[in-house]
Symmetry: C2
Subunit: 425 residues, 2 copies
């Protein structure tokens, strides 16, 4: 049995032996062509279980192999979920640079019609699940309560599980996560003595960073039991327990008044049905001269989320378009001051996570089975590819109340270096 | 006959003498109360023609006087147009700091229901006129072809008629306009040898600035005959005629391929009906690795524009919300990279223009009649107030094509100074 290796050259797990021997017929080849066409004909070679291949017109960056006939049919019947599950089970194999192959795949798909690969056999597009109070708790538990030990293996030492900010191209993941936290703090103009509420605080890294470096008092909310427990321990160990309060509760239950509202990487789990309620929470708890920031994965325009990702990795998640995000702000006449798109930063972050994940693959194999590990590699690599191909965005939106003229006049305070930084991937 | 003075203490023109003598009755006072309530009870004293006043509960920043009964009825019948026209004719008088009184008025209105003061006697909200090819030409002619001599009296020496960018609080209008042009050029990352198309180029200042300081070739479009004629003269006088081409034509007729798309202060005249077509033009003419910027007056949320401004000053104009602006970008899968809100910069710019206008009021009186001059003071002061009160925004939106990964990773290249700049008005 061969398994995925850290350099991204995944080999297939065994599939049905008789199927593997059976030659692919004209129907199989016709179905493969149909899949490749729906994918927008990426510069990738596609192969079937008998070794027959379908090469792209120009250069090929790698190979995707369907290891048996059933997998081919499964991908036709339910493209995104079928492909993701088959990869996890080792019935689809990707060779060549893992992220590059996925990137070129997403880019081709995005240039064609992304929805073509989303429709199932009945032409239906997937719909994410709803995030009621109970639903949210269940959905968040499924992902974030996988065990702190799991995440500790491949996240940075501060356990920051959101897009980093690379001020320089040679910054490490740790440096970029620290820079991101400063970037967020500067955007909401934190000053000593201020009070801050954080909606969706992960393992508490940003809340503690704000308290430690900006002298503010933070109340941070999260419904992941494991994360809150970890965050409280950390705050205690760092002597910050009197300045940071971690509350195991839903953002909808936030009360009080604060000088800043911060939410980094929670909106993806809120769902558009609840944007009005999120806006109401912010309008209720933010002081009139306070600034707010919402940092979220997003899209160029409304589109159904990747069904496999929503089903297997992030239940109930939905990355909104900027237009959809306006449902949070417009009812309360919030003024959008600044939107920054950090999609290439998230691509780098995910590539760094994947690299660290692969470096720890031996430890991970002792804790989790192969399909879980393959699924997580597909999630990390696939998301990196989605940000690289621009099919996914990362928006940081800074906003203020209408009567607030204490806002900064320029954004100069966010920057220290003057050079243009271009990353050619 | 007394007239408005440069310090903003406008005195009334003569109205019907018998009306001025007639005492205001209970109906008049009831109507005045109704107007003040619709305005959201600003901290301003309101007075009637017989000297009777209605003072605010707290401090008053100035006084608004209705000089006769007919004016009071006119404002009830058609609030925005009635008020603006009556002020222009000297039948409404504003004393105290002109901008401050208007600012507090807009702020109160914005905190209440802004539409209350918009509905006419029949409860109808105003609708701006449409911008067909012919309509646009007529609308633009009405404002921008008032005569270059008129604008030269009070704009900066480069004749930039859009929001300036104050990098420091002591920058002059000229310096802030130059800084704005550099800010725009940096946002689209101009480099020598690039080609740029500009949609709506005014008197050509930005087009010439780009050619002169960034070594690019510019094709600039405008349908104002007077502006294009002036711009061509200037390009010739500066020896830039081989690098800047001024075309007297509509943005809808732009053809060719360019490395950057720039539009500063045109979108207000496009109208939401045409956003899809504008997006199609950009998608057609912008190279795949090119960046675009659209700079426009906007709103926090969709709302009818000020009827007087649309009728008397900017025919066919409409400031969109960010959500409405997305109609330009979403159909072509453009990626929004950066949105900056410069509303306080436009407040400062308009206050600078009003100051210069007032300094040249003697010259202006030789060229134009009093109602015209009063209307323009109301426009400049009223718009400054609208930006101060946050009822109007200024958005600079930078966007790219999806497959473009040559975008800058950070926005550090836009900034040289690191201090936080807060303007307390």
């Amino acid at each position: 049995m061969s398994t995925p290796t850290p350099d991204g050259r995944a080999e297939a797990l065994p599939s049905n032996a008789s199927e593997r021997r059976a030659s692919a017929g004209p129907v199989d080849r016709w179905l493969l062509k149909r899949i490749v066409a729906a994918l927008g004909r990426p510069p990738v070679t596609f192969a079937l279980w008998d070794g027959s291949t379908l090469a792209p017109e120009g250069e090929s960056v790698g190979k995707i192999t369907f290891k048996d006939r059933a997998t081919l049919y499964r991908v036709i019947a339910s493209p995104e979920i079928g492909f993701g599950d088959a990869f996890s089970e080792g019935r689809v194999e990707i060779s060549g640079d893992f992220v590059q192959v996925l990137y070129k795949g997403f880019a081709a798909l995005d240039a064609a019609d992304p929805n073509k690969f989303k429709r199932n056999l009945f032409g239906r597009l997937p719909r994410p699940r709803r995030n009621t109070l109970n639903g949210s708790r269940k959905h968040i538990h499924e992902h974030y309560d996988l065990g702190n030990d799991f995440y500790r293996l491949w996240l940075d030492k501060h356990m920051v599980y959101t897009c980093a900010y690379y001020e320089t191209l040679d910054a490490t993941l740790e440096e970029a996560q620290t820079a991101k936290m400063h970037h967020v703090c500067r955007k909401v103009m934190l000053k000593p003595g201020m009070t801050v509420v954080e909606a969706g605080c992960g393992w508490g890294s940003l809340a503690m960073h704000m308290a430690k470096h900006y002298g503010v008092k933070v109340k941070a909310f999260n419904i992941s039991h494991e994360q809150i427990a970890y965050a409280r321990e950390q705050a205690c160990a760092s002597g910050l327990e009197d300045r940071v309060e971690f509350v195991e509760d839903d953002y909808r239950n936030i009360s009080g008044k604060f000088d800043a509202f911060v939410s980094v990487g929670m909106l993806e789990h809120v769902g558009p049905d609840n944007y009005g309620e999120l806006g109401a929470v912010v309008a209720r708890v933010l002081n009139k001269e306070g600034l707010g920031i919402i940092h979220s994965v997003g899209r160029n325009r409304r589109s159904p989320p990747n069904a496999w990702l929503e089903r297997r990795i992030f239940p109930g998640s939905y990355p909104p378009s900027l237009r959809e995000m306006m449902q949070i702000f417009e009812p309360y006449n919030f003024s959008i001051m600044d939107v920054e798109n950090l999609r290439l930063h998230y691509a780098r972050t995910l590539m760094a996570w994947l690299h660290r994940f692969d470096n720890k693959i031996d430890c991970l194999r002792k804790m989790y089975d192969e399909p879980f590990i393959r699924a997580w590699r597909l999630y990390l690599g696939g998301c990196a590819a989605a940000f690289l191909s621009n099919s996914t965005q990362l928006f940081q939106v800074v906003f203020s109340f209408p009567a607030n003229n204490s806002i900064p006049l320029t954004r100069q305070h966010l920057y220290r270096q003057g050079d243009t930084l271009v990353w050619r991937f």
